[in-house]
Symmetry: C2
Subunit: 384 residues, 2 copies
């Protein structure tokens, strides 16, 4: 069929589909329903999670997240439902300590990251991503500027490309010269979210920074929002004990503490690293066919002269790269046919993709049928 | 018995009691245990509380808190587990809009309030409290200074005196002249926490400010931390729709949203204003005898020339006023005998009670026996 006729056919289906964010599907959320029935309220050290105390998290939850993140318990704070909130305040604390400055943003990247440093007054500097991680020659060059205060990283199954940083990139990030206080925000949002049968491996970056003599450089985050419930999970941060103590002090002005009952529910449900891995296999069984479906539709409909795309081993996104000047128009055509994609350019600082090439595809939320139609629509729109 | 002999007798009991904070007792926390078993996940408008959405709160929870606070649904945001966190960010947003300045602090007051404005860079100005609320002549006089940006208020069963603002004070606060952006942080933390059979009444301050032509002046907060679970409840803020929209925008940079499952649990458990009132009657049955016990011990042991104290109709605290220069020493003597009280001076800006007279007594957490001993110890220490 002609692309235009095909587009009009799909438009006539009156689709109404929001694929703008990386949301778990209802089927995935159902996997964690037993968590809601847990009504324990004392952790295994006897802390009553129903009352004020332990701003740094209940001991049982700190042990769980410390094990996941490969740090000591004192190097881990367990927070509330939002890792973005923990990151925001970490960057705010850095700003209050070292002042505003420049912040490195591997692109394409996560729009909500870039927005945090933007509203906190930093100048955003783009750094190209590669399949191995950010272009380290460029990062090292830029970090010679003493005004550069830090870098955003989604080191495993990156948002939106799905790339995992290589051991070499991790080592260079840990060891490179930079201004005092230079901080790597290590948002390991997808650390356990494999799609391929054999997932990628990521070095322990906190340990690498410690070994490099830069123990305060790494501040690593994770969250169960895409493990249990989106926006109703538990987030944690790990770093040097000095950094964790500084964060505790900072949060003490702001809150009496985080929701410890939800911390306890999560630890009792996920149990340990093994329990988490088994749970994530169930997510993989739901997500792997969805990712494959999108990749199949792309392969069948997008010739190499029109587009290229990433084939991630995990995470929540596929990056689709069209020819220059095509992305915004394609997203607009999809919108007019009832499929909302992430706005073109969102993955770049200030929302501007300089080449207008990139579209972030989020295959997790739609049903399998909807996904097929949406992917077809995207291909047709890109070909118009 | 001689005071010193009595003190040594009590000290020999090897007490170990922390009365430094206003914490619900385990018996009170048990009242809300059924809440933990609630595993609903869709609100009555169909919002799936397990997934990202609705930063302003789920509709069902907004209706509940809007009803409680006497505002329209669009004038209410339902947040996470901490009202202090909502206040901190409200003051931070004000500071970013109007700049630093001075902040009025009715004294004695809540140390965590004062600390928020202190770390956010405001100069703290003490205003005397009266049994009717802050000294309004003084507030009106101070607010003529255009550098004065706002005032902290705990309008019902104030922390620590247990006073409730009179209608007259509320009206003057709503109507008085002040610099643009002058904000009343109306922390209605104890709005439903009666101890007397007939509780105090508080005017609807948001409505008063609207009627006075100052709709953005009132920003009112409440929390279920002392209704259900300390630090694991739900907090809400109400104000003009313009202020709520500004807060939503502000929070959007910081988080994808608050924990909606906990919002849903709470609404399903408390149901409505009537359900809340019935629940609070159960708290009252536990707390009224504890407050009475402390008042009885004080009356039996503290002659008028040694001390005076408040007799609140609700809330979490009793204020004990000793002769000048006596408070810090008394708190220290209690500590040496194993009873930790709130540090003397904590209820004043910068932790300094200029007369060293005030001690905040928190009768809620200890068992009845412990409370008797602790109150006796306090009387003996004050008499030494």
């Amino acid at each position: 069929m002609e692309p235009l006729a095909n587009y009009n056919r799909l438009k006539a289906l009156n689709l109404k589909l929001d694929m703008s964010r990386g949301k778990p599907s209802p089927e995935q959320l159902d996997l964690s329903l037993p968590l809601l029935a847990i009504s324990d309220y004392k952790d295994d050290t006897g802390v009553d999670a129903r009352n004020y105390s332990n701003l740094e998290g209940i001991p049982e939850a700190r042990r769980f997240f410390a094990e996941l993140q490969g740090v000591a318990v004192n190097e881990c704070l367990v927070g509330g439902n939002s890792s973005l909130e923990l990151m925001y305040h970490t960057v705010e604390l850095l700003r209050n300590t070292y002042g505003k400055g420049k912040w490195l943003c591997p692109v394409p990247g996560y729009d909500r990251h870039f927005r945090v440093t933007e509203v906190l007054g930093y100048e955003l500097i783009s750094v190209p991503m590669t399949a191995e991680g950010p272009d380290m020659d460029e990062v090292e060059r830029l970090a010679r500027d003493p005004e550069v205060r830090g870098i955003w990283c989604v080191p495993k199954y990156s948002n939106p490309d799905g790339y995992t940083y290589s051991g070499e990139v991790c080592k260079r990030l840990a060891n490179m010269s930079a201004a005092p206080g230079f901080t790597v925000i290590w948002d390991n949002a997808y650390g356990w979210h494999h799609i391929a049968a054999k997932g990628d491996e990521l070095p322990n970056f906190t340990a690498l920074c410690k070994a490099a003599g830069n123990p305060d450089r790494a501040v690593a985050f994770c969250s169960t929002s895409k493990i249990t419930f989106g926006g109703a999970g538990v987030a944690a941060v790990s770093s040097s004990e000095a950094n964790i103590n500084a964060l505790v002090k900072y949060f003490t002005a702001m809150t009496i503490g985080f929701d410890k009952l939800n911390q306890l529910r999560h630890v009792r449900f996920l149990k340990n690293e093994g329990g988490l891995a088994a749970h994530m296999e169930k997510h993989r069984a739901i997500l792997a066919p969805k990712f494959q479906k999108v990749l199949d539709v792309f392969a069948a409909n997008l010739p190499p002269e029109v587009a290229e795309w990433t084939k991630p081993n995990g995470g929540y996104f596929i990056s689709l790269y069209l020819n220059a000047g095509k992305a915004a128009k394609t997203v607009q055509l999809c919108k007019e046919a009832g499929v909302i994609l992430t706005p073109a350019g969102a993955a770049y600082p200030y929302g501007k993709d300089p080449e207008d090439r990139h579209i972030r595809v989020a295959p997790t939320y739609p049903s399998s049928d909807d996904l097929q139609t949406a992917a077809e629509l995207l291909c047709v729109a890109a070909s118009l």
